[in-house]
């Protein structure tokens, strides 16, 4: 943190996270976190942001929650991390329940289901985009393509539990990554 920047209290962290969580529509959230923590408040340096982002993407859980927990810990210890976690989730929890409540009062059940199916199809399109980006990354290292296929097949085809699948496949994939990083120097 630059010397002229005041260290935030856990209350400051709570309020920033509350705002970001409540108005975060449709992803792109890590960009917003960057603007708030790095550019606007200068609580976090650019290189710390990138290293922490990498960690939060590797670990299970929502990237953005992981990210603000790490920053909260950095800036104000455990209380900071807890404030970030709670602050970030309040908006989305109320938002999703409020929206459900609202749309259910909007129209008759048949039309509602038809309309929501349309929303779901678009949302599936967004998931396909996530798959596409992931696959494009994997094609750059084609030795990992079987990992993608095996995971999808185990979970979707054979109904394997998700955690079991991860515990089975991740070690193999890590071994593969170590092997290919040694081979490439």
């Amino acid at each position: 943190m630059p010397p002229d920047v005041v260290r935030p209290t856990s209350r400051d962290i709570f309020l920033v996270c509350l705002k970001m969580g409540a108005f975060s529509f449709g992803g792109g959230l890590s960009g917003w976190i960057y603007r708030e923590f790095v550019e606007r408040h200068r609580w976090v340096s650019d290189s710390d942001f990138n290293a922490t982002l990498a960690l939060s993407q590797i670990l299970p859980g929502a990237n953005v929650i992981n990210l603000v927990i790490c920053f909260g810990e950095d800036l104000a210890g455990f209380k900071g991390a807890l404030s970030a976690f709670v602050g970030f989730l309040i908006g989305p929890v109320l938002g999703v329940i409020g929206l459900y409540y609202f749309v259910n009062r909007l129209s008759d059940p048949t039309l509602l289901s038809v309309g929501l199916a349309g929303v779901a199809y678009v949302a599936i399109g967004l998931l396909i985009l996530i798959c596409w980006r992931g696959l494009r990354g994997t094609f750059r290292q084609p030795e990992f393509l079987p990992v993608v296929l095996i995971v999808a097949l185990l979970v979707s085809g054979f109904g394997f539990p998700v955690l079991l699948t991860v515990l089975l496949v991740a070690p193999i994939s890590i071994a593969l990554a170590i092997w290919s990083s040694r081979r490439n120097g």
């Binding site: 670990l59 999703v96 678009v122 399109g125 696959l135 890590i174």
Partner: protein, 181 residues
Amino acid sequence: MDEDNVLMRLVILLVPLSLASIGGGASILAGIERGVVGQYGWFSHEEFLNLFAVSRASPGPGTMLSTLIGWRLEGWTGAIVATLAVYVPSSILCYVVYRTTNLSRERNWYRILRTALAPVGTGLVIAGVINITRISGAGLSGLTMSFAAFFALLMFPRLPLPLMLVLGALISLALFRVSYM
């Protein structure tokens, strides 16, 4: 339904998924679907699709689907229990790893883990897409809409998502009206 029993089952279902959610909420969609629709039969296919749609149209990190599921089953208690069950385990793991590792020194390890785990996450999201499409009963029109949305977002990444979702609802309603008349 016995309340404690439902809450307990929800926790037992969601905690392992939390620890497996590599790449975020989308990766455990298949697991949630199989649990609440297949295993416990708490929701019909149609209800689940509705919950999925609402959760994707709300603000928040990826998916708040589990919160909504908890709310539908056991009201506010269910919502809070489900939210905590899906976010606390992964958050504790992140907190502990962050505190015990040194970001700058272990960058090489991060790179290797990222290379290794990204394909696992992608595989999970693909499984989610397959499962949700399977239960959506999407005909040709549904699949066409999904792929149209995919191509639109691919070509124009700045398209506002809420607008796209509303458009999806309107097109779906229009198609319904046409087939009804």
